[in-house]
């Protein structure tokens, strides 16, 4: 009964927060409980009898987490998971409070958590994962994690704390240092891409450092081909086709990572065909190649989270995309973020909008991209772009950063994760 008072306080705060701002304020209960009962989060996370799975790394966390959770559900295993916007301590505590009984326990027998790198490294001091998946190390959030080594060190800390199995991206040179480290005691499993897949992506996969050799197919889950939204993976000697939630080699790598992770969790009962079918039926993740109908017209959303994902997304856009809006919001504090990317393939951008619109437009013109219009006011920019006549071929495409995505969804009256408002 140690945490009953804290749980009740958290629920009261949640109620008050929702009366004040309907649909919002959901990180606040977590903040309150973490303050009055600092042990609660660790206690609740230790209460999963079938184990704790953590998923971390620079990019791909939320896609992979959703894939793993869905594949487990298809196998009849219901798990506790956190919304992708609650991958830091307060949000995670809030998510646990939503589902817990008065003793602070959650009824699911297993948790699969997506964790921010920095908060994950801090959390493992209190509670250790049984299984850990590390996606990759990318130059991400330059103004917060100023270099790749710092991110790699945080992921290494998580790997040291893991008791059972660590699953690593075999193509990421920073992560592969973890495989040989004497302080990592867990068993190691891998996912990766074949030589052919890498050759088809001459700019690489966006990782800060690539390994020199590819993963042998027998050593883990290997991605052997990607064409548009269809991928082929080899797992334990079996080949299967997977339909991806969006176009792009990074989603195919995410699918390989999810398959290896689900197989590690499920052991003997893992069914590869069922896993592939489940991943193929997932709806697109918010803003990641999501296609929506607005005013009777099809519009594609593309979210860019860092320079590497910006490049990968541009490279996987259809060549004949003729109407593009680029929205760069206040989450890009440092516009240097935009400059390592080669945007010349865009040809023409019809509208550049968001609070960093002028910086974004500046980068485009130096790459020889024609910019039709710049409108820093996002709502005005969106309206003017959507009012353009339908393109002759293909559909309108909106490329946005996370902050611009939230504002775009609110402006267009589309569903928004409660936590993000």
């Amino acid at each position: 009964m140690r945490y009953t008072a804290a749980v009740l306080s958290g629920r009261l705060v949640r109620l008050l927060a929702r009366i004040r701002k309907p649909g919002g304020g959901s990180a606040i209960p977590g903040l309150v409980v973490n303050t009055i009962a600092p042990g609660y989060l660790g206690h609740a996370l230790k209460s999963f009898p079938d184990g704790l799975v953590m998923i971390s790394g620079s990019a791909g966390k939320s896609t992979i987490t959703k894939m793993v959770v869905a594949v487990l559900a298809a196998h009849g295993v219901e798990v506790f998971t956190n919304p992708s916007t609650a991958n830091i301590a307060q949000g995670l505590t809030s998510a646990l409070l939503e589902r817990s009984d008065l003793r602070g326990r959650v009824h699911q027998r297993m948790a699969v958590l997506e964790l921010d790198e920095g908060h994950g490294a801090a959390l493992v001091e209190r509670v250790q994962p049984d299984i850990l998946l590390l996606t990759n190390v990318m130059v991400d959030q330059i103004d917060r994690f100023h270099d790749s080594q710092m991110v790699a060190d945080m992921l290494h800390t998580m790997a040291e704390a893991t008791g059972g199995t660590v699953i690593l991206n075999a193509d990421d040179a920073f992560l592969m240092e973890i495989a040989g480290a004497p302080d990592v005691l867990a068993a190691i499993r891998y996912f990766g891409v074949s030589d052919e897949v890498l050759a088809a992506n001459p700019r690489g996969l966006g990782y800060t450092a690539m390994t020199d050799v590819r993963l042998p197919a027998e050593d883990g889950t290997l991605l052997v081909s990607v064409a548009a939204r269809e991928a082929e993976v080899v797992h334990a000697g079996e080949v299967c086709r997977v339909t991806l939630p969006a176009r792009g080699v990074h989603y195919a790598v995410d699918a390989a990572a999810a398959i290896e992770t689900a197989a590690t969790i499920l052991g003997e009962s893992f069914d590869l065909a069922l896993a592939a079918k489940t991943i193929g039926s997932l709806p697109p993740v918010f803003g990641r190649g999501e296609v929506v109908e607005i005013g009777g017209e099809t519009v594609e959303f593309i979210l860019v989270q860092n320079p590497a994902s910006y490049q990968l997304n541009l490279d996987s856009m259809e060549a004949n995309t003729e109407q593009v809006l680029l929205a760069v919001g206040s989450d890009v504090r440092d516009p240097s973020y935009l400059w390592p990317v080669d945007t010349s393939g865009l040809g023409t951008v019809n509208m550049v909008t968001g609070s960093k619109a002028w910086d974004a437009a500046l980068q485009l013109v130096y790459d020889g991209v024609a910019v039709d219009r710049v409108e820093p006011d996002l709502a005005a920019g969106l309206d003017a772009f959507l009012a353009l006549p339908k393109p002759a071929v293909g559909h309108k495409t909106i490329i946005f950063t996370a902050d611009a995505m939230r504002r775009t969804r609110v402006h267009l009256g589309l569903s928004v994760n409660k936590e993000t408002v």
């Binding site: 330059i142 103004d143 790749s148 080594q149 516009p335 240097s336 400059w339 390592p340 130096y366």
Partner: protein, 246 residues
Amino acid sequence: MSDGTERDAFVIATLFPSILNTNGDAANARVLAQRARWAGVANVSLIEVEHAKQMPRDVDFVVVGACSEPDVVRAHERLAAVQPALEAAGTAGVPVLAVGTGWYLLSQRFLTPGRSSEAGLGLFSGSASKRSQRISDDLVVDTAYGQLVGYENHSTDYRLGQGEKPLGTVAYGSGNGDGAEGALTGSLVGTHLHGPILARNPSFADHLLSRALERTGRTLPTSARAQEADRFAANARSAVTTALGL
């Protein structure tokens, strides 16, 4: 010429961009090349120097970007291999723009990843030293070439050496740590302003480009094609200065 470039070529070299490009600083070379082309400068050539032997003998502009802290020792070795070429460029009055750790490595002292102080290449007479806290914020500097608006992300102070002048005075941010920002010595420019500073601040870009062209008896023509970019840059700068209340 022995390296195969025409004498009338305008050669911009960016040094070791595979490691010295942490914040897109190598983009400054792209910006210079594009502005020169827009202005109608003939035979603009942009050379990415990844090995010392690729360093062109006749060079008109050198860009040295910043590396991440763990790469400092590797970057030091690579830059040391082109030190004679850099010294020759400096003697010949070729503009050299060095940013962040790339600048510190060319100074008297730089900091290793373990934060110990080591001897740098000494092209700048000043020294980089430890700063108690990392700073990551906008940096606005008043200079002879106008108010420069950029971004800084470092945990280093810089003390100017004999004969060095600052690039300007800090209007917002930290800079060298004593109210000044950057270092000017001969044709060498060192600065904390990282990323594509020359795109955001075209007056500074054109000042440096003019210097590079004048050295070989050429001038920088005015360019109508740069006008759109320069309007975007002016708006980008004023978005920052307005938000900062400057």
